[in-house]
């Protein structure tokens, strides 16, 4: 546990130095999305499922912000700590265990996602887009989504040698997920053949949970099923990361 907290501490100290760099993507961009698409595009739309488009899109943008942040923070920073900064090699020379390196970083992802979610919810509340006290659970849903995608992304980042793979990851997984996993329009609009792809994305499950919470309605699947799916990604991702880190740091 000490080791995990020490790794978390290092990530926080770095964040304190470099937080300005991420202000735009973490805090400003999501609000711009809500303004342009929620209010701008929403003005031409009567609403979705009986609620205004703004109210409908806010939980989607909330979850997709967490999604993009968690993936992004697990690409270059992780590969960099193996290849350029070699921070993991520095930790490896101390009593810190490989599991601590992964857990400590996941704790940092949770921290980042929680802060971004709370700030975004505060702004959304000013626009009157929050309709249920269940909203207090959404930061935790975002945190779970964060681990569910950050852990496997960390495993991927620990496996590759060349950062150009990240472009493929964004092009073929992150951007399609953001566009088609129920953030901007209901998955039911997709052709039936493509819907399973949306259901497979962890983002869709978090979007539906957040939307149910901010609107005060029931999600499409039982809450436990959505949560279990995200937990499975988190658990499997953690094991993959453990394996990838071990391979990279031991011989």
């Amino acid at each position: 546990m000490d080791g995990t907290l020490a790794v978390f501490n290092r990530a926080i100290v770095s964040y304190r130095r470099l937080w300005q760099a991420s202000v735009f993507s973490s805090f400003i961009l999501p609000v711009l999305f809500v303004l342009s698409i929620g209010i701008g595009v929403g003005g031409y739309i009567s609403g979705v499922d009986g609620v205004s488009y703004l109210d409908w899109i806010v939980p989607g943008v909330l979850a997709s912000t967490a999604f993009q942040m968690a993936v992004g923070e697990s690409t270059f920073p992780i590969l960099g700590d193996f290849k350029w900064v070699r921070g993991f090699h520095a930790m490896r020379a101390t009593p810190v265990r490989i599991a601590d390196m992964i857990s400590g970083y996941q704790l940092y992802i949770i921290f980042r996602v929680l802060i971004a979610s709370v700030v975004f919810l505060g702004v959304s509340a000013l626009f009157g887009a929050i309709h249920s006290p269940w909203v207090v659970f959404t930061p935790f849903v975002c945190a779970l989504l964060g681990v569910a995608v950050s852990a496997p992304t960390s495993a991927f980042a620990a496996t590759i040698e060349n950062d150009s793979y990240f472009a493929l990851l964004f092009r073929f997984l992150v951007i399609p997920s953001t566009l088609f996993a129920g953030v901007f329009f209901p998955v039911s609009q997709l052709p039936a053949l493509l819907r399973p792809l949306a259901y497979a994305s962890p983002l869709w499950h978090a979007v539906e949970l957040c939307r149910a919470a901010t609107l005060g309605v029931a999600p499409p699947w039982p809450v436990a099923a959505h949560v279990a799916y995200l937990l499975a990604w988190a658990g499997l991702g953690y094991l993959l990361a453990l394996r990838a880190f071990r391979r990279r740091l031991s011989d």
Binding site: R10, A90, M91, T94
Partner: protein, 304 residues
């Protein structure tokens, strides 16, 4: 502190360390000397418990590096060959975040960081980020970082490679002070002067094996002669003089630009050269160094 018997490290078909035996006693400064690819760093990585021995026995601080890695690493200080400092953090933060890896409480970490920065003469740079520091400063910071847990054993992998002479001397002086405090130092180097300056005892490694072992003095006496004469003969190839000078000193070693003459008494050897009627364009009599030993033992072929 360290005991190895028949230690082997293989990577696939390649044998990096080929059955070495060694013993390092507390308070000793011990060196691994050898050309690139001799197996020094592989050995260091096994001692640092980040690489698992393929075969043989290895005990560090009387513990098993495979099963008790974290407990051993808690008492080691490691200064790696490639710096792995956090470039975006300040000098001070590099030490305090690293202290936490050892479970050192915040306040104690700050106290030790300040003290160590004083020790490596970086107090002025405390608040600067690491990125703009010179190579020598970064290396000093790495050494300070390796001391944060007050280690019993400090591992230094090529501590002064790539540094300018001033930086090297400052570093040597700091390492010498550590040694005086009773810290056990284990270092790798391919600089002979470094090994002579710092090591009480050293092993020369070549192609994964230990080819010689002893104190610098002992190695020079065993494998070289007390003095070496360097002879130059204008434009003539030194090799052509090997036969003409045969029998003077204990051995002759022609280099492209000069002839080395190993002898217990350099001046007597020079007199004999003159007596035989040869007049070298330049003559230098010097004490034998570890470099001579090293070249005798590992040959002159470039490794890479």
């Amino acid at each position: 502190m360290i005991r190895a018997r028949g230690l082997v490290k293989r990577f696939g078909d390649f044998t990096a360390v080929d059955g070495i035996d060694l013993e390092v006693a507390p308070g000793e400064a011990f060196g691994f000397l050898g050309p690139n690819g001799a197996g020094k760093s592989s050995t260091m990585r096994m001692i640092g418990c980040v690489s698992t021995p393929t075969a043989g026995e290895l005990r560090i601080l009387d513990m098993d590096p495979v099963r008790e890695g974290p407990s051993i690493r808690a008492r080691l200080g490691v200064c790696p060959q490639t710096d792995n400092l956090d470039p975006d953090l300040t000098v001070f933060e590099n030490l305090t975040t690293y202290a936490r890896y050892f479970g050192i409480p915040r306040a104690e970490g700050r106290r030790r960081a300040a003290e160590l920065l004083e020790f490596v003469q970086l107090t002025e740079k405390s608040g600067s980020t690491v990125e703009p520091l010179s190579g020598g400063m970064k290396r000093r910071l790495s050494i300070a970082r390796a001391m944060i847990n007050e280690p019993d054993l400090v591992l230094l992998d090529e501590p002064t490679t790539g540094l300018d002479p001033q930086a090297r001397h400052l570093l040597w002086e700091r390492l010498f002070r550590l040694k005086q405090r009773g810290v056990t130092l284990v270092l790798t180097t391919h600089y002979m002067d470094e090994a002579e300056q710092l090591c009480d005892r050293l092993v020369v490694m070549d192609a994964g094996k230990i080819v010689a072992e002893g104190s610098p003095r002992h190695l020079i006496e065993t494998y070289s002669t007390r003095e070496v004469v360097e002879l130059r003969f204008g434009d003539d190839a030194p090799a052509t003089y090997v036969e003409k000078l045969a029998g003077i000193g204990e051995r002759l070693d022609p280099l492209p630009d000069r002839l080395l003459l190993y002898s217990a008494d350099g001046d007597a050897a020079v007199n004999e050269v003159h007596r035989r009627g040869f007049t070298p364009s330049s003559v230098l009599v010097r004490r034998s160094t570890l470099e001579d030993v090293f070249l005798i033992l590992t040959g002159r072929t470039l490794v890479d």
